[in-house]
Subunit: 190 residues, 2 copies
Amino acid sequence: MPRARRTTRPEARREEILEAALELFAERGYRGASLALIAERVGLTQQGLLHYFPTKERLLVEVLALRDERDTAHLWPHGGLDALPAIVELNTQRRGMVQSYTVLSADSVTEDHPARDFFTGRYERLREAVAAMVREDPGVVLPEGMSAEDAAAMLIAVMDGLQLQWLLSGGDIDMTGVVRGALALLRRSP
Amino acid sequence: MPRARRTTRPEARREEILEAALELFAERGYRGASLALIAERVGLTQQGLLHYFPTKERLLVEVLALRDERDTAHLWPHGGLDALPAIVELNTQRRGMVQSYTVLSADSVTEDHPARDFFTGRYERLREAVAAMVREDPGVVLPEGMSAEDAAAMLIAVMDGLQLQWLLSGGDIDMTGVVRGALALLRRSP
């Protein structure tokens, strides 16, 4: 049963723990971020942390929900394909979020990872949403053999792959420009 | 000083340890794969393992060298842009290698990761090599505002991003077809 260790309200304390966990997962990955470290960052004992989140997996699930809520992916279905470079531009201002996404999504392909289903489902939905945007875009002309689903997988891959290059290059990659270029390629007719 | 714990020759034993480490890094990431686990997989004690590789970082560096040696990236400068879908097709037969690459490259952006410089340098060299291929390809027509370097960053991002989607979808993404599509887009003139 939750015991208040401080005067902080439980909801505020939960939020604080989620923030710290999101940061630490971005810094060290899921397996590298121990509950002890997360607890330390918010000034709790590990026992104290477990009052709020009974397992590390539970904490991860809630961190992903928080990330999703702050994420820009919900903007995707609106504004058509031109929303994509706009979202990428926003992401250049949110290095921590980009890093948490890159680290946790790749992490999730490792053995028995508790976020695997989360990311599998997320990519399925994203591909569907972007494929619909490709179909509805009046300027897009797909080359022979490329379906709207292929174009969607490609655009999402460009965005993800660029994030990795951008993080590794210390921000020296023009993510927005390259995504704009990918759209220009899809929109020119042969 | 190395003491032979078994009759296996030291080089054979080193190779065996590297194989096990490559597997375990792919399965659990760098921080999640302990030396104890790696030692266990080759039937050594952790002490025994340390005779061959004095630190976990040293082991990672040698694993990356092994991965690079087996990797197909050295094929990139040959055969021009059409080598890319050929390499991707090969990768669909090597899920373990793809997974180790996806996991370790994203891992490397976490705090103080010993493979960070390795991947930063690797992407710089890849972008240069692919940009040269883009420039030399007689069919490529870049849209206004897209440089050969941008196109290279895009193609590499497509390949990396697709690997993640492919791993998460259980192989249900046509990586080769989408990369071929990306080349077709670059090669059609407006």
